[in-house]
Symmetry: C2
DNA sequence: TGCGGATTGTACGACATAGTACAGATGCCT
DNA sequence: AGGCATCTGTACTATGTCGTACAATCCGCA
């Protein structure tokens, strides 16, 4: 599963459901005019292909690989049968679908009422949650698309977080140095879906 | 079902699933610090209580009555049994749950990359879709909370739309005069979930 | 009929982000 | 080792929205 691979193409039948073992996938909402913005990210905690769980065969959104990794995938038809037969599987996946909704709602909240620096901190935390180690690849340009802001704005915001000792940036990479401070910088933009995830899914293991 | 009635309280067990016959409900994402912003609205096209469909008993979001109307409600336990027994019901509700996800994602997109005037136009269109007639009650103050912006900003934006002959505003009310123009003003912020709704649900009737 | 709360209109400086442009730095590939 | 595409740093003006304040208007209720 390499970077920029498309796991779910927009408006085409969803062929597989993916469960990531590592790496991160981004769900991007797009409009006919070509605006794009990230609404939800998924790592090994979730599933790629929520529409299939909801009996929807295609979606206007695109899901692609943001950070490369390994994935287990199931063919769509088999997946459908599987959740038909196994209620407990359907149940846990439904819980994840709900957490994904909360994350998307959190993105809406954040985009609408948080400053760039807070939104950036939120985004970095969500990535950090889903990778091994403290460093992951990401460019300012990419971030600007995901957050829906200017690229130089990202550069400035990164400098600000870096100046406060929360992260360390090098070309095409960001390293989280002080997660606690980063959380403080994210303020209340981070945490709601994460808490619910713990309540609904992780606790049930 | 009167204005400001709370249909689903934050972090409390969801007692009922509602199906509106008229009126509109708003789902609001909130943070511990008290930020609030609307992420999704529902009228007679959908259901209130998607979490229960996903086997989730409570949610950090609040859903309240934005425009009064009539509602049919089902007790949570009965609803659970119902969707257990009737796959076709579960199926159609799952489709709606997905449309709600698209709407929430659309809100994230709009909040992140559209100007206030476009966002306001989108919001008015979504309300207009869900009421009988062309007029509905709404104050600038309320809109400012829902959109996550300043109240005077809403006033200005409304004047702008009004000046273009798209709407007519009077105290506590807005009337849609020219839906076509309003759609143009909303640009690509409006339409994606609506199209999918037609594909998935209305076509299946 | 007049009072008072709610709603709307307007103003103004402050500030964040947009849009754009370009130079410098990095690191991969030949 | 050099060339080149990519990425990052910085600058500048323009503009939209913020935060705040206050006046004007509306309308239900005493």
């Amino acid at each position: 599963m390499g970077r920029r691979d498309i796991l779910i193409a927009a408006n085409k039948p969803i062929t597989h459901v993916h469960f990531l073992e590592s790496g991160i996938a981004s769900e991007v909402a797009a409009t006919p005019e070509g605006r794009r913005i990230e609404v939800c990210i998924t790592g090994r905690e979730g599933m790629i292909g929520v529409p299939l769980l909801l009996d929807v065969d295609r979606t206007p959104h695109e899901t692609f690989v943001q950070i490369e990794g390994d994935t287990l995938r199931i063919e769509a038809a088999i997946f459908r049968r599987l959740i038909e037969d196994r209620q407990s599987l359907r149940r846990i996946l439904a819980h994840y679908a709900y957490v994904a909704h909360l994350q998307t709602a959190g993105t809406a909240l954040s985009n609408g009422s948080h400053a760039l620096e807070e939104r950036l901190a939120r985004w970095l935390l969500m990535c950090h949650d889903r990778v091994d180690g403290d460093e992951f690849p990401v460019t300012h340009e990419f971030l600007s698309t995901m957050l829906g802001v200017r690229r130089p704005g990202v550069t400035t915001a990164i400098h600000s977080l870096e100046g406060a000792g929360m992260i360390k940036a090098r070309r095409s990479y960001v390293q989280v140095l002080d997660r606690t401070k980063l959380k403080a910088a994210a303020g209340d933009s981070y945490g709601v879906p994460e808490t619910e995830y713990r309540r609904l899914i992780r606790s049930g293991r």
